[in-house]
């Protein structure tokens, strides 16, 4: 009998610590599959941080680093500058990237650090109980904005992928969604193109992933997937916002 579906070799046989309906696990798996497919397991170092994915270093079999909230792009910079032939990625949330660590993220992008950042955008702070994030939609009710996000009080949501693309020409910047099979397959392509951008030394790479948080949104898992389509993608359109001058898919560097 031929095995047609299995755990990526880059991943451990452990369960994910997430709530039912959360799509973090899909994002982790896509990264694991991409590392397998690129054959870079022995050269990969992942960085994770505070938030729901704080313990996700357990999921992988390659070297992992855990660091403070928002700081992974700076830590990745230090790692990559010391070990330029390794594959260094950071796995972060929207609080990390869009709030406390926006300085680290934008400056790593500005310097065209040869690192890859994956950002989970679920429009809330999941781990701390569903407070508002900079990515919370206008009107969205959270535990810290019980009246809903009011732009006169809290400003408008920030589109991180477009912001990076505007300051970091030639980097690879994409936004994907993890809410249906078609989108997940596209997300996989983006993850691979981001890592290839790094592999070929073409520049900074960033993939924002719209991800469901049924617990933080007070929705069923099915309604959460629908809400990504009906509300989130309107604010956060999918696609590639910047690509390297040399395509990361080409056979030559």
């Amino acid at each position: 009998m031929t095995k047609v579906f299995m755990r990526p070799q880059s991943m451990n046989d452990v369960s994910t610590p997430y709530c039912p309906g959360c799509t973090h696990g899909i994002a982790h798996r896509l990264v694991g599959e991409a590392v397998d497919e690129l054959g870079c397991f022995e050269r990969t170092i992942g960085i994770v941080t505070a938030g729901c994915s704080v313990r996700s270093w357990r999921l992988y079999r390659f070297d992992m680093v855990l660091t403070a909230h928002g700081r992974p792009p700076a830590v990745a910079t230090g790692l990559k500058r010391a070990l330029p032939d390794r594959m260094v990625f950071a796995y972060q949330g929207d609080g990390d990237c869009a709030a406390i660590g926006i300085g680290e993220l934008l400056h790593a992008a500005l310097r065209q650090e040869k690192i890859t950042v994956f950002m989970i955008n679920n429009a809330v702070y999941g781990a701390t109980g569903g407070q508002a994030a900079p990515t919370t939609l206008v009107g969205q009710v959270t535990t810290s904005y019980p009246q809903g996000r009011n732009p006169n009080h809290a400003g408008n949501p920030i589109n991180i992928a477009e912001t990076i693309a505007s300051i970091s020409k030639g980097s690879y910047v994409a936004r994907v969604a993890l809410n249906n099979v078609r989108n997940i397959l596209k997300a996989k392509e983006a993850v691979i193109r981001a890592l290839k951008t790094q592999e070929k030394g073409l520049g900074f790479s960033f993939v924002e992933m719209l991800s469901a948080c049924p617990t933080g949104w007070h929705m069923t898992p099915m309604d959460s997937l629908k809400w990504i389509d009906e509300a989130m993608i309107k604010q956060y359109p999918l696609g590639e916002f910047s690509t390297p001058l040399v395509t990361p898919d080409s056979q030559t560097a």
């Binding site: 680093v65 660091t67 700076a74 830590v75 500058r81």
Partner: protein, 354 residues
Amino acid sequence: MTDENMLLSGNEALAEAAIRAGCRFFYGYPITPQGELLEHMARRLPELGGTFLQSESETSAINMVYGTAAAGKRVMTASSSIGISLMQEGISCLAAASLPCLIVNVMRAGPGLGRVRPSQADYRQATKGGGHGDYRVIVFAPASAQEMADLTFEAFAIADKYRNPTMILCDAMIGQMMESVNLPDFVNPSGLPPKLWATTGAKNRERNLVLAAPLTDDQLIALNMELAKRYADIEVHEQKWEEQYLDDAELAVVAFGSSARIAMDAIQKAREEGIKVGLIRPITVWPFPNRAFANSQNHIKGYLVVEMNNGQMVEDVLLATHERVPVYHFGKGGGWVPSPEAIYGQILERSKGG
């Protein structure tokens, strides 16, 4: 040691000694009075194939240090007081993850933004941990350009030995004063012992982890116990201090860094006048050189702590002496620098038992 003496500022001596210790990575944010140090690294490291990177903040600099330390390379940053405060989150994480590195604090006067004046007001922050959680940083307090070089060289070795962050704590006077320096010989970074724990890619080995927090409650308690044991070892083995004229001293001045340099002038003058005064100069301020006081002879009737702050090290002297004899403080915060004459006046007064 080389045969050649060079005229260098303390900051330059420190930077050059770091390079000679095999440090090829420097991350930092401009701030006075450590400017010469950062600029020296910006010139020198690219020549040697190393990495100098000016970060967007001190927070980012210390996290770049975290990344390069996780990769197993010798790495440093430098800043001054308020910038060091901004780094404390990262220093706590470095200590939690047992990552060796060197942090330099060329102190200015505080609190707040303070002013660019020599000061020793960050003693307490440096020696008691500095950030959140129960951790320690090994802290050296050089008193000359030569010591800036020697202690920097040693700090890298001790950081690696204990897998712990180390700090050089100095001030604008020691940083900017130019003196003759004999630099240590070059260490080839590729000749340093490999760090088998570093996250370099899991090739032909089990994967490595560098974690700023363990997985479970029990593991965090175990980590704290491991750190406590490490700090106890460091307290036993790494206390360093200098003594002058203690054999018959009835009063001992206790001072570190630039205040010790100034105090020596006053002590020599007093000795010429026949006053029995000596000096204990902590070279490591953590671990504090308790043994210098435990060994202390019965003829010492009092200690005069001279420091450029409102009285921070005086607490450690009180603990070290168990208050057997009076401990006096002479100092002021805010950028005040004692004159040799003022210290001499204090020596006269305190040696009368006043």
